[in-house]
């Protein structure tokens, strides 16, 4: 996707080996991240995250649905990512589908926990309205507007911000309904409940170039990667998900090392992201008034 000459490739490799990357960052430093919330008024919650020149939007739509028969006490969450052709001409038509699917699956692994919903960043039982009958279905849609590498981390950050921006309408159930009938529900227009997003993990992708690995790789650096490991870590430093991409195999000890480095890097990322979300929410509230 990115064409680099041999000289430029060597320059990038050298920079990573010497711990001074092309834009002056060290191996474990992120680009400046900024978050804007409430960018899509029609959605229940939305956020736009920029990480350097990478720009993504996440929106959250809640709909009333029926819980799965096997898990009557849990709501449903699905994640879908789309790559806009404005990000790169190759995404035009069906060109972005492969990457979209990869990102969607990656985020589902990192944020949604197991099949049973255990370990999910979002408490699925908080989405239930009437057990076995009515629940909220959350549709999380991500859109890549501009791509300069590290899409997975940016999307996870945007989703985390969007979730904290989300208000789910309060629902009152009419008492009369019983038995087999679908209960009648009344969706409030005024009262909303907020999610507890403290459990939503962040994703830190470590890209291995040469002997070293870096966080927050740009597109040029990603083109030089031998393999990448994305680790999702929550506030307590627990690993929630792990994905390895790229062809080259990794020694198990390297993977363990990468996981602990990712955990360390996630602490700074969570702190930065939290303050960005807080200031974005403050601006958003000001605008609302």
């Amino acid at each position: 996707m990115v064409g680099l000459s041999a000289g430029e490739r060597q320059f990038i490799h050298g920079g990573i080996a010497q711990d001074l990357r092309s834009d002056g960052r060290q191996r474990l430093q992120f680009r400046p991240i900024s978050v804007q919330t409430g960018v899509i008024p029609q959605a229940n919650g939305s956020a736009r995250a920029t990480l350097g020149a990478t720009d993504v939007i996440a929106s959250i739509k809640a709909e009333l649905g029926k819980p799965a028969p096997l898990q009557p006490d849990k709501g449903k969450v699905s994640i879908f990512i789309d790559c806009s052709p404005t990000a790169a001409p190759v995404f035009e038509g069906r060109g972005g589908e492969e990457l979209s699917a990869e990102l969607s699956v990656g985020l589902q692994r990192c944020l949604l926990g197991g099949k049973s919903g255990a370990g999910a960043g979002i408490d699925l039982s908080s989405l239930i309205v009437v057990e076995g009958k009515v629940c909220w279905d959350l549709y999380i849609d991500g859109l890549v507007i501009s791509s300069d590498g590290n899409l997975l981390d940016a999307l996870a950050a945007a989703i985390k911000a969007a979730l904290s921006n989300t208000g789910i309408p309060k629902v009152s159930v009419s008492v009369g309904a019983s038995g087999e009938d679908q209960p009648e529900v009344d969706v409030s227009d005024e009262e909303f409940m907020q999610f507890d997003t403290s459990g939503v993990p962040v994703v830190v992708t470590l890209t291995k170039v040469g002997r070293h690995y870096i966080v927050d790789a740009t597109l040029e650096e990603e083109s030089q990667m031998s393999s990448a490991v994305s680790v999702s870590v929550n506030r307590h430093g627990r690993v929630c998900g792990l994905i390895k991409r790229g062809g080259t195999g990794l020694d198990p000890s390297v993977v363990l090392d990468m996981v602990s480095v990712a955990k360390h890097a996630s602490e700074t990322l969570i702190a930065v992201l939290d303050s960005e979300i807080a200031s974005a929410e403050a601006i958003d509230d000001d605008d609302a008034i």
Binding site: S5, L20, Q26, D148
Partner: protein, 318 residues
Amino acid sequence: MMRELHVSLNQTQRVRLQAAFQHISDIGSQASSGLLVSVSDTIPVNNEEGILKGHGTSERDGQVVATLCGVVERVNKLVYVRALRARYKPEVGDIIVGRVIEIAPKRWRLEINFSQDAVLMLQSMNLPDGIQRRRTAVDELNMRSIFEENDVVCAEVRGFQHDGSLHLQARSQKYGKLERGQLLRVPAYLVKRRKQHFHDLEQYGVDLILGCNGFIWVGEHVVPRDNEMVEDQESTLKDKEQSYTQLEIRQNICRIANSVRLLSALGFAISVDAIIDTAEASKSSNIDIKDMLGAEFYVQIAEREVQKRISLLKKKRG
């Protein structure tokens, strides 16, 4: 593909930046000579007879109006708008930096941010080692040993052919392949045509090439070679690590590259003086290389530009 830098400012920084830009536009309106128009602005033509409406203009209610944002240009009776945010428009003699995208019979095709690909013919360049080229079939087959796909190349605009295609030439030692550095892309209008586009910044050990097409090369200084070609195809990893750019020079390269990124994000004209000034300002105020792209330095440079323009204006008025 041009990627914009996003800077998130806090409240005070935003106010400071707005004030700085307000200053600049105030100064600009006092000193501007050209006529800047945006879409639907009327272009005054003083009811001249037989005005020719060129690119970016249209007629509405008997008046010439602009359909683009840019600078009004006049050539005799022709009025046109030169758009600022547009692709590069080559002129003969321009020095450009481009990337090889294809090797075709006897020619390379280069991406130079023009509306079409530029052509560099094998016959319009001197070989890197300076020897006389023999026009043989073998010579054509060996083109990849000179430039490969994706190589970054510096050349000069030779002219347009009859069919409208753009031809380049590289008939000097200073043109040719660029290695050991990084290529930056900025909007082409930020780079003004100067006498000198090659800069050897001795104090930094850095070569800087400001291509008129908005491609800017920042790389390690190389002495123009005029003898043998280097044959180190199969080097070991250890050799490779030893041949990496020295850390000190790399720091300078990154600092200068970030100066260029910053100036382009602010929309200030990119010249050697401006780049060095920005780099020195970052050094003297102890800004880390990576923090040069942060909000604080962004605002600082905007304010610095205001001071520069004010002092320039004072000098002009004497």
